[in-house]
């Protein structure tokens, strides 16, 4: 199937700072594609390039299998970095401009998207009177206008309260169920973990990994074990067969197993048979955050 967006060897530098270094990946149609990375990793630069705001000196990209153009951008609902609207115009007037430029939607749709983001009551207020969260909501409304098949959202929950964050997360899930392709940059891993089907992780402009979320961020089983004689416990667990990895932290031993293979009963029995009485045995779920820190810090050296 034709990928919605395909990047080939995109590089970009600001003077001596390499913002993006030879980045290539495909965004499959219908995916919720999360672009992750710490601050300054190149997420917004990447989205700016695919929206033709920045020029990439090397590399190329295609939308819907074709070279990017004004026409292809019209089909994409986008929110880039900050909500960009005319301060002296109301929400409705601003969205009329969005509508007129993109050709997406009509007057009725403007009210509908304002309803979706809970701004309908304030549609006649000037943009300059909005709070940060309301500005963000209007930007999301602008992206949703005319029900585009592709959405590019840069930190969509920026400035929103917890209720707003949950609403946007649900909205993204709903849109995904309707078959929309959503490309989303975020440093909020929790957000990504809950909605994304695919991820790409950037660090200092380098693409560390990209692909299906279950393959990239494969979660391991972690079992924490402790005993009175921690050295002896460590020695015998070094020999424990099905583990992939052992880590000692203070008075706790962490055992890593491939997903779904940790067996607490068996570990308990194994230690007991070798004369060690366990005083703690606990299975932990590894968070995406730990995994993310692992991936991004592994490349430090």
């Amino acid at each position: 199937m034709q990928p919605t967006l395909s990047l080939q060897n995109i590089s970009k530098n600001y003077g001596s700072i390499q913002a993006l270094n030879n980045v290539s990946f495909d965004v499959p149609m219908g995916s919720v594609f999360g672009i992750l990375g710490p601050n300054g990793s190149g997420k917004t630069t990447l989205l700016s390039i695919i929206l033709d705001i920045l020029n990439a000196p090397t590399g190329s990209f295609t939308w819907f299998g074709k070279k990017s153009s004004a026409e292809s951008r019209k089909k994409i609902g986008s929110l880039l970095e900050t909500p960009n609207f005319y301060h002296y115009l109301s929400a409705t007037d601003n969205l009329q401009i969005t509508q007129a430029i993109s050709g997406r939607g009509n007057a009725a749709d403007i009210d509908a998207v304002l309803e979706t983001v809970n701004l309908l009551q304030r549609k006649k207020s000037k943009f300059s009177t909005y709070s940060l969260g309301m500005k963000q909501r209007l930007a999301i409304a602008g992206a949703l206008l005319g029900n585009p098949d592709v959405l590019v959202l840069d930190e969509p929950t920026n400035g929103l309260d917890p209720v707003g964050i949950a609403e946007i997360r649900n909205l993204i899930k709903q849109l995904s169920e309707q078959g929309k392709t959503i490309i989303m940059a975020s440093h909020l891993l929790d957000e990504v973990e809950k909605v994304c089907t695919h991820v790409a992780i950037l660090k200092k402009g380098n693409l560390l990994v990209a692909g299906n979320v279950n393959e990239v961020l494969i979660n391991e089983d972690i079992v924490e074990v402790s005993a009175a004689d921690i050295t002896l416990l460590e020695n015998i667990l070094q020999e424990y067969p099905s583990k992939t990895f052992l880590k000692k932290e203070d008075n706790i031993i962490q055992l890593y197993f491939p997903v779904g293979t940790a067996n607490l009963t068996d570990i308990n029995e194994y230690c007991f048979q070798r004369g060690v009485i366990i005083n703690m045995l606990l299975q932990k779920k590894k968070s995406l955050e730990t995994k993310f820190l692992e991936i991004t810090s592994a490349t430090n050296n």
């Binding site: 929206l51 033709d52 705001i53 920045l54 020029n55 153009s69 004004a70 026409e71 951008r73 019209k74 986008s78 880039l80 970095e81 900050t82 960009n84 609207f85 005319y86 301060h87 002296y88 115009l89 007037d93 009329q96 401009i97 969005t98 007129a100 430029i101 993109s102 050709g103 602008g142």
Partner: protein
Amino acid sequence: MLQLLKIEWLKIKKYPAFWWMLAIVALTYPGINYMFHSIYENIISRKDMAGNVAKFILGNPFAFPDAWHSVAYFSSFFVIVPALLIIMLVTNEYTYKTHRQNIIDGWSRNQFIHAKMMDVMIISIIVTVSYSVVAAVFGFYFSDAVHATRWAEELQYIVLFFLHTFAQLSWAFLLAFIFRKAFISLGVFVFYSIIIENIIKAYFRFKEWSSSEFLPLEISNRLLPMPNFLGKINAASNEAYKKALDNINWHILYTIIITSAIWWLCYFLNKKRDL
């Protein structure tokens, strides 16, 4: 094109500074012309010979057909008013980052400049219409029966006024497009047009070089030469005035060249630079 115009109108129609500009133009154009009409009245009301000679030689500069020229010259002083509006309209796009949003939403980079050029065009037309109305009213008011029939002579000043306005607003646009910040652009525009270019002109005169006519604003300023009733009433001054009138045709050409170059530069830079 019509679509671009419609979108620019959505941006402008609720922008308070636009209506302020119209109000200021509506007040200043009749005001400045009335003021200079009073100066003219003072000259001819002198009881000595010079007053009579002036009246005889000059005719009434505010009667037809000279009204078109005189009113154009005095009104052109206030090109700074629409220029401020142009600078605000352009720098607003950069301040609010809507220049990015317009592209994101589906304009090409060229369309952004097309749209802005239309703004400059439309505002030039509005200002030109205001000038034409003021000139027509002054002309009919101050013309006697004979002069009134000559209203259609010198209508070319409407075109010259438009060209002058469009050229100078294009210059204002270029500054706003390059500096992006309202205060810097306004500062550079005002400082350059009122002080720098005049200093350069004075220096050129002092050195007796002739090429000050090619300064960016002077090129189009010479489309509307100073009416001769403001000069000394003598043969040399009359000669210089005739020469200035003869040079208008060349300055039409120069103005078109420099204005085209300005817009070409804007298209070129906008394509190349990061937004």
